[in-house]
Structures are given as C-alpha cells and as structure tokens.
C-alpha cells in the first residue's frame, strides 16, 4: 500500500564542530509504508532522526514533510504537522502516571482556545478515549495509574511508543523500540509495530536484523553518516556494500 512520498530529506548534513555526523543524506519515505533505517553503531541514524524531528538544526540540506519544508522547525511544532518520534533512551515523564504521560501527548494537538483551559482535564472525553485506545494498543491498560518510573524496562519502552503515537501523527519515527528488551518482550514489541503498519507511516531504526528483514517495505542503510544502500529487504541483503559495512573492511 504505497502512496505518495510523505517524508523526504535532501542532502542533510550535520556537523558537530569538526565531526560530520551526517553527510548528505537524501531519503524518501512513502506514505503507508514501514521504512527501516539500519547501520552499524555510530553511523548517524539517531542524529538523522534528531535532524528530522527538530532537535538539532542541520548544517545544510532540507527536510520536507507532506510537501512542506519543515527544515529547522523547533521540535514542538512537528507533532502539529503530523510527525512524532520516540527516543532510543526512554524519555517519558517519570513521576506522572502512565495515563497522564499519554494524556499529555494526546492533548497537545487539541485546539481548545483559552476557555478550554477552564475545564477539568478529566472532562475531555475525546482525549480520554484516545488515551484508552493507545494504552490498549501498547498493552499498558493494567498499568494506567502507575507512575512511569515504576514500570519495568519493557513496559517503559511500550510507554515510550505510546506517548509517541498519542499525538495522532501520520509519520512516526521509532528509534530502536526493542532496545534492551528480552526475547519475549521483543516479540511483543515487534507485533505492536506490525499492528501499526497501515495506520501510520513508520520510519524505524532497528538493530535486530531478522525483525528488519521481515517487516520492512523498504530499507535504507547508513554507514559513517552516509546512505550506502537502499531498497527492498532482498536487495539490501544481497548488496555487497552493506555486507562489507557490517562485517568487515572499514570500521
């Protein structure tokens, strides 16, 4: 179910002083697809996410979302455009309950005007419905009232994804959702991500190759800040440059 290009980067460059972390990356993600981004550690994948999501300004290059130039927009504007990202290190609101974590994210796009702030938070039944939906999706309904910091690592990763989905984005940047998870939790997370396909367009950073190969529509491979290959899982698997980047040669 591929559609028009939803996200496109053009020659993105990111310099940290003398270090060029991202060197001219141009990629496109088609609407409705699951596009994976893989590469050895330090290849610039998370930095690329940061560039797209407004955490860092690119030194050069552009980012287009849904046809609009969103380069350099501050991070808080992007959910309103329909783009949300999750973080590699769990980045939620520790002392807020699971419910409030998701509620905060779900509410951000509501246009309430000043008067809306006179209502009780709990009175926004549509937001509550959204929150319930998300908690159901990520399997955290039973932990609704628990403070986020009391959750296990696996539950926190699920919450991390939940918070990302809560702003009803069209495009979701998932940064290693299975990071640090035991095999069973990894399977659950993988199934969750698969359930999201179609409802969201997904750009996924992932290290676990079997997962990447089995669920991706397209894969982009990064090494040393550059895109070295792109294609379907089969094309990428057979690509000698990719094999070299992962297995040996330059380190």
């Amino acid at each position: 179910m591929t559609g028009a290009v939803l996200l496109r980067t053009e020659g993105l460059i990111c310099d940290f002083g003398a270090v060029r972390a991202v060197n001219g990356v141009s990629l496109s993600v088609a609407a409705g697809t699951l596009h994976s981004l893989i590469g050895p550690n330090g290849s610039g994948k998370t930095t690329l996410f940061n560039l797209i999501a407004g955490e860092i300004r690119p030194s050069d290059g552009r980012v287009y979302f849904d046809g609009h130039d969103v380069t350099g927009l501050p991070s808080y504007r992007l959910p309103h455009r329909g783009l949300a990202r999750c973080f590699q290190r769990t980045n939620v609101f520790p002392k807020l309950t699971v419910h409030d974590n998701v509620w905060a994210a779900a509410f951000s796009r509501r246009r309430t005007g000043t008067l809306g702030f006179l209502r009780r938070a709990s009175a926004f039944s549509d937001v509550e419905a959204d929150v319930d939906g998300i908690l159901g999706d990520v399997g955290l309904m039973h932990k609704r009232s628990a403070p986020a910091e009391t959750l296990s690592h696996g539950q926190q990763r699920a919450l991390e994804v939940g918070v990302t989905l809560a702003s009803s984005p069209r495009l979701v940047l998932l940064d290693e959702p299975t990071q640090g998870l035991a095999p069973e939790a990894t399977q659950q997370m993988t199934r969750l991500v698969q359930r999201l396909v179609g409802r969201y367009t997904i750009l996924l950073i992932e290290h676990k190759m079997r997962i990447v190969m089995s669920i991706s529509d397209r894969i982009s491979v990064m090494a040393f800040g550059e895109l070295i290959a792109e294609g379907t899982p089969d094309e990428v698997r057979d690509n000698p440059d990719v094999q070299r980047a992962y297995l040996g040669g330059r380190r």
């Binding site: 501050p74 808080y76 290190r89 409030d100 905060a104 702030f117 938070a121 910091e149």
Partner: protein, 320 residues
C-alpha cells in the same frame, strides 16, 4: 478555617491566609512546573505599593484595588518572566533574584513614592461594597473573615487551574521539558503562562497585605519575603495543593511563637530548612503521609489527572 482565630490572633491568622495565596503561587511554578523563583516578593511588593498608593491618593474602592494589584502582579510577572524564562535552572533563579533586588533598591531609594526604609503608611481599609451593602472591615476579626473569603476564592481558582489541562502540561514540563516539547508543547510559552499566573496570585496577596497593618513596609519587596515564601512551600510540601497552606501556617505560627522568646529565631528557620532539605524533602505533607501510613491504612492512590499529590523530588535524579 473558621476555628483558626480561636487558636491564633486574627492578625496572625489573616497573615497565614495571605501568605498561603503567595505560597500557592510559588507552588504552581516550582512544585508543578519545576521553576524555582527566588523573587516572588517583586510582585508581592509591587502590588502592595500600587494598592497602597491608589488608596491613599485616589481613595480607590476595595474591589478596584484588588483587581489592580492582581493585574500589576500578573503584568510585572509577564514582563520579568519573559526575560527570566529564556534561561533555565541556576540562571533562572539568579535572574528572578536579581530582578527582585533591582526593584527593592528602586523602592528603597524612591522615598517620595514609597517612603523608602520607613514604608508607606496611612493605608485605609476601604469598605467592601456589595451592591447597596457596605461592610466595614475595620476590626481585625472582620478583616480576617474577608481575607479568608478571598483566600477561598483564590484556592478554588488555583484548584481549577491545576485540575485543568494546564496542570498536566506544567507537570510534564517539570518532569521532562525536552519530551514535553517533542510531543508538541511550546515549553517556554507554558512556563511563561505559569509564571504570569503565579505573579497575579502573588499580587493579590500583596494587596491584602497592604491593608493588613495600614502600611507597606520595605520588606514587602525584599528578598526576605521571597525567601519566606520559598520556605513555606518547601516546609509544607511541594507539588501538592495543600502543602503551601501547611507551610504558611507553620511558618507564621512558628515565627510568631519563637520571635517573642528569642530574637535569633531566623536561626531556627535556617535549621528547619536545612533539615527539611536534607531529610524530609516532601515537607510536612510527606511527614503527615508517613505518619498516617505508620498508624495503619494505606495512603490513597492518586487518581489519573485529578491534580492531586504528585510529589516532586525524592532521591531520583532527572532522567535525560
């Protein structure tokens, strides 16, 4: 609340409610939003002086003065807050402190307007005009009732704010400003909103204070009051709606009780602060909760999003 004048003199009781309002305001920006302001006296004092001058020179009616003071507090906070919020953490604290000092020195030197070190005397208590009725507030007891009533209104307003989406947004900003931005909130703007609201409440308290003794002392705008307000919030228990009330009550009652006996009572205050900071960061609220737990019975679980107790910092550090 009705019983309070039985335990303490109405004057002290009224001060407790006045400072409860100011403490609630600081709690909004510190407990809920995570910004420690060491300069709330700026708004307290500016409103007090404004109200005092209005009543002395223009014989302004009571309600006008209440509104004016609240507005002065809010507008001053909006302006000062806009500058301070450009920075976070230590910088922010020192900027609020610095602004407080600036206004203090201005008030100190501008004796023709403020009376300087001697204060601004001669402030009347205009009667409360409720339609055809005019209630005089001359006696301490009557003024106490009036102050308590205003406090209840302020408390209700604060509760509405904290129960509204703003309450959740502010706490999210406290917990993780980076993520709050990443999910779509203009963090600086919401911080500014919190700061401005707090300035308004603090201004209201300042107006009430000006009519307390008929004089606006220079201390009203000094960082001593700023520090006192910080005490109250800390000792009472941060991030909890009732903490500031406990803190204000404890502070005022203690200061009254001890200062009669020992002139060096700020020493006790300092010791209390150090002990709370080292050993009981949840303040009196935490102490009471622990007591209740020790006596049997589990503490109530916080309901989602109802603005109820969310204690701020215990031992954990802020997560990245």
């Amino acid at each position: 609340m009705v019983l309070l004048p039985l335990f303490v003199r109405p004057v002290v009781a009224a001060e407790i409610w006045i400072f409860s309002i100011a403490a609630m305001a600081l709690n909004l920006i510190f407990g809920y939003t995570g910004m420690l302001s060491f300069g709330q006296a700026t708004f307290f004092g500016l409103a007090a002086y404004t109200a005092g001058l209005m009543m002395i020179h223009w014989h302004a009616p009571l309600l006008a003065v209440l509104v004016a003071g609240t507005l002065v507090g809010a507008v001053a906070a909006a302006a000062i807050g806009y500058v301070c919020i450009q920075r976070v953490g230590t910088y922010f604290i020192m900027l609020t402190f610095g602004f407080n000092q600036m206004f203090y020195f201005i008030a100190y030197k501008w004796t023709s307007l403020t009376g300087g070190d001697d204060g601004l005397p001669g402030i009347p208590r205009p009667p409360l005009a409720l339609g055809p009725l005019g209630v005089r507030l001359d006696s301490s007891l009557r003024y106490y009732v009036f102050v308590a009533a205003i406090f209840l209104l302020a408390f209700y307003a604060m509760k509405r704010i904290v129960d509204s989406p703003l309450g959740v947004i502010f706490q999210a900003i406290r917990e993780n400003p980076g993520r709050a931005a990443a999910v779509g909130y203009d963090v600086k703007r919401y911080k500014w909103i919190a700061f401005t609201i707090a300035g308004g409440f603090t201004g209201l308290a300042g107006v009430l204070y000006s009519m307390m003794f008929g004089i606006v002392p220079i201390e009203s705008i000094s960082w001593i009051i700023s520090g006192d307000i910080v005490f109250m919030v800390l000792i009472g228990g941060i991030g909890n709606l009732y903490g500031p009330l406990l803190g204000a009550a404890a502070f005022k009652w203690l200061s009254e009780a001890i200062s009669v006996v020992w002139e060096r009572w700020p020493l006790i205050l300092g010791v209390a602060l150090v002990l709370v900071v080292l050993f009981l960061r949840g303040g009196l609220v935490e102490a009471l909760t622990r007591l209740r737990e020790a006596l049997g019975g589990a503490p109530p679980r916080p309901e989602p999003g109802d603005g109820a107790p969310v204690r701020v910092a215990t031992e954990s550090e802020a997560t990245p």
